[in-house]
Structure formats: C-alpha cells, structure tokens
Symmetry: C2
Subunit: 315 residues, 2 copies
C-alpha cells in the first residue's frame, strides 16, 4: 500500500490547476452567531462538475502516461466520482467508462454522459458490479480509478485544504464529512504536514456511522445497508483512508437525519448556496456540539452541490 | 423632482461600504455555451439581507441627520425593500416600521422583525395601506423611504454597477430585471456616466410587462393586477425611474413564466446558487434572444436570493 505524501499533493496541485476552480470561502454572520464560532465554508459545490472529486479525478487522469491514457479510465460509482472522472477524462480527451447500477438515478447517468463518458449498467449488487467492471477493464484495458482508496485521488483531494489554509489565517479546526474518507484523508495529508496545529474532525450521519464505529473500535467496521439522506456518505472506509483517519483525526461526530436536513436548509436559506445533504453534516454536528467549537475558527468543507432539485429532502 | 447624479452615487458608495458586501461575480461555461455569449453574474443574492436593496436602504438610512434618524424610518413593502430597510435601520440603531398587508407571507414579516423592525399590518388594498402608513408617519415622524422612487435609493442601487465594471473588463451589455425600476435606474445612473459604451437592457415578465409597454408607448402605463412568479417585479414605474429608463435603456425584453422558471432552475442547477425568480428573468430573455447578445460580454444582475424554499416554482 503506497501512502501518498506531501510531495504528491504538491505535484497534484500543479497538475490539476488548469482543470479545477480555486473555490471561494464564504461566511455567514448569522450562522456564526448560532454556532458561537467563526465558520469558514470552503465551497467545493462551486467546483468543476459540482464536487471536490474533480480534484482527485483530474489528478489521476492527468498523471497517466500517454500510453495508459489512450486506453482510458474506468470506475464504478453512482455518485460524484463517476461524473468527475468523466469530466477529467473529457478534458484530456480520453475514454471514460462508469459502471452504474441500472437503478441509479437518470440524472446521474446523464451527468456522466454530459461530460462525454460512457455508462455501462450492472444489476444493483456487488457481484454484478464486480463482474461487469472486470469485463469493461478486460475489453478496454482502462485504468481503474477508485473513488477514494487510491493515492492519486487522495493527493488530489488534499489540494482543497492547501487552498483553504492559504485563504483563511489561523484556523483552529477543519471539519469535513466522511463517507469513504477520501476528502478527510486528503485533509489529513495536507494539514498534518503544513499546519499540524489544526485539529481535524470528521462528520458522519448517525445512520451511516461506520467510520465513527471504526474509529472507536480501532479497526475498520463496515455498515450493514446504511440509509441516509446524505447519500454520498454511505460507502465504507478502506485501508488507505483508514490509515489517515486513524492517525490524524481528532474525533468523529455524528448527526441525525433531521439535524442534517435542518442544517442543509439553514445553509441554503442564509448563505444562498445549493449544496448536497452530505455537505450539511459538518454544520449539523457543530450546532449539536457547540462546546467543542466555541470561540474557534473552523474551516468546513462543503463537498458538493449535485442535488436533485425536484426532490429536496425537506419536502 | 431631484434626479440623482454621479456624485450622489459616489457619496453613497463611501457611505454604505461598511454595511454592504462587495458581492462576487460568477460565471458558468455551460450557460455561456447555451447563450453563445460570455455572461457575468453579479450576485446580489449574497448581499446583506439577501438583496441589492440593502444598498439603497443603507444609503437612505445612513444619509439621515441624527435628528431625523432618531425618529426612525418607515416604508410600505411586502418584499425585499422592507427587509433591507429594517436591516439598515438595525445597523444604525434606529426604529423602522414596515406597513404590510396582513395577507403577506409570514416569512416576510419574520424577516423584517428578525432585523429589529416593526411590522404594522394593513388590509390588502391601496387605500388601507395609504391610510395606515399616514397614521404611522403622523405618530412617529418617521422618514419615508420609498422602495425605488427616491433619489437616495437609486444612488444606493447605482453602486452595484460601479462594482461590476470594476470587477469585469470590457462589458458590452448590462441587463437587469425591471419592476419599479430602482436597480435599472441605478445602473443607468452609473453606466451613462462611467461607461456610456455599455448598453443597458431591462428584462421583464410578459405577465407584468408594464415597463415594456411604457417604453414602447413613451409614457408610464401601469399594469392591471399583474400576476407572475417573479413577484418582486409586479410594481409599476414612477416618475424618477421612468426618467432613467426612457433616457438610457436600449431595450426591454420580456419572458414567459415557463422560461423564467426554466432559467431559474438552470442557474440553481449549474451555478449552485439560490436566487429569486425575479433574478432569472434576464437569463430567460437572453436565451430567447440569443441574436441580440451573441459573442458579447454581458453583465447580469442577480438581484436577490430571498425565496421560499418550501414553495419552489418548479414543484
């Protein structure tokens, strides 16, 4: 297992610069007053393809040799990683195949295709997904880019915190949602090297709290059929992300479904930004644990903005 | 009738600086490709109190003598002006009374109160509103700040275009929604003086097209019970705003209800920002009149973000 280093993050930062946005940091005096802390929202919902995953995907795609690149890239994902990999491949002009359950939302399939990627459908089971994916790779020779358990992807996500500490001085804490742990691992990679004073928290839905339970137990525990409105956070930790979480995260906090939806609506209403339920989990945990963050300067990663506007969770 | 001048805008710009945001300008390569033009969205939905009207209201409030200010300010508005006047009065620490029909949405009343203003209810008729408002002024001696037909308010709104031309070079066109005409008048005031090369367009709902019809007829025509999803744009032009529209606007374009809602959803989906139906009218007209804007650099004023998240117009 290769653990990505600060040099990998720095190389990623240069490599992906032409293909990603340096996203803005927004604040809300109203939400600060509720939290009793100074909150700085790093808005990856404004990122290319609508999610931070454009960073890791671009790093993987643009790090390929020409020979590898010609055979394209492939992944399995019904979420932002598939869309972002398709985006990055489109920018390089190489093929991209995303294996997705046939039951995945039409909007997700359309998003992959909108950037030029190919969707290959499987049955909604792990065995079907693995079989179909193996077939795709055998046929095309495409490079597999895992959504998070991949050093290239983590090094890419790590560029987000580098920007954040350049944009905001004197942060005490950075908090990000945790699913598979790609963003949290990238955050750990950058901050443990460049700003070890900053504490790193992860935020997770109570109803998909495998990272929380893994953290408390000291070994990876996977959820049994997690069900949460924060659908980007259902996937489990893997070895590489577990390495970063175990070594660098101060604590993992959890939030109920109701608190996540309330925090999401609060951000939409007061900050006028469209973001995903997953991105609301950090604020939900902050508002329930104000004693942890009182008086602190807190960076919050708003991970993405790809939400179905016809099915908002408060309706 | 006093016509505000460039000097009034410059004074406003200095006066209100501590109380308003210099809002960002956002772009979307996807929407540019649809429009065949380069669009620059000036995001007043991120403005204090959620709308550009914080500019005019702050200019009126902070321009008062201490003696006037002690008696407070008053207006009639069931929209953003009431909220923004309450915001500005709150910042100065003076009383603010907003007369509103008792049938106005609870959220609008709460917004005024949230900034410390007082809501006085009237019946939903012009005669009741005028009677109740006269009573309020007689009792308090408050200064009336009209939502748009007021030189202080127009000079305040005019600061928005000043920022926009500082933020974006070489604009060919600026387009803003038109209701009473406060934002359009401010835009005319600034651009006719500082950047006369830039053409000014106004955008209006077909179902509240009094400004369009006035512009074509050469005199003010009021609508008879306009009904549009863009509820900030139902009010008619008045003498002062008509002066600017008549003298400086190149054309007024209109959009159907369906096109407005489609444009609104497109902006939410691709740009990840929350904005009002009124703010979508310019893009709706651009996408229907691409020949007018083809290849041009177009500034678009996103006027506000105060929308009822429980009642989105596409649902």
């Amino acid at each position: 297992m290769y653990i990505p280093t600060l040099a990998d993050m720095t190389a990623a930062d240069e490599r992906i610069r032409p293909y990603i946005h340096r996203t803005p940091v927004l604040t809300s005096s109203f939400i600060n007053s509720l939290a009793g802390a100074e909150l700085f929202f790093k808005c990856e919902n404004f990122q290319k393809a609508g999610a931070f995953k454009a960073r890791g995907a671009s790093n993987a795609v643009f790090g390929l040799s020409d020979e590898q690149a010609a055979r394209g890239v492939a992944t399995h994902s019904s979420g932002n990683h598939g869309t972002c990999l398709s985006y990055a491949a489109g920018r390089r002009g190489i093929p991209c195949t995303v294996v997705m359950p046939r039951t995945a939302p039409q909007a997700k399939k359309d998003a992959v295709r909108g950037y030029g990627g190919k969707v290959v459908e499987c049955e909604p089971s792990t065995s079907s997904r693995e079989a179909v994916f193996a077939e795709v790779v055998a046929e095309t020779g495409a490079e597999f880019v895992h959504p998070y358990n991949d050093p290239r992807v983590i090094a890419g996500q790590a560029t987000c915190s580098k920007e954040l500490i350049e944009q905001v001085d004197g942060l005490d804490v950075v908090i990000a949602p945790i699913g598979g742990g790609g963003m949290v691992s990238g955050t750990c990679l950058t901050l443990s090297n460049l700003a070890p004073r900053i504490k790193i928290y992860a935020a997770e839905p109570e109803q998909a709290d495998d990272a929380y339970r893994s953290f408390k137990a000291g070994h990876i525990i996977a959820d049994d059929a997690p069900n949460t409105v924060a659908d980007g956070l259902k996937v489990p930790l893997k070895e590489l992300t577990w390495h970063f979480v175990r070594n660098h995260v101060t604590d993992i906090l959890t939030a109920s479904e109701e608190d996540i939806v309330d925090a999401m609506k609060l951000i939409w209403k007061r900050m006028k930004i469209v973001m995903e339920p997953s991105s609301a989990v950090p604020l939900a945990t902050i508002l329930k644990n104000t004693h942890v963050f009182a008086g602190k300067r807190v960076g919050i990663i708003i991970t993405g903005g790809n939400v179905d506007l016809d099915k908002l969770p408060w309706q």
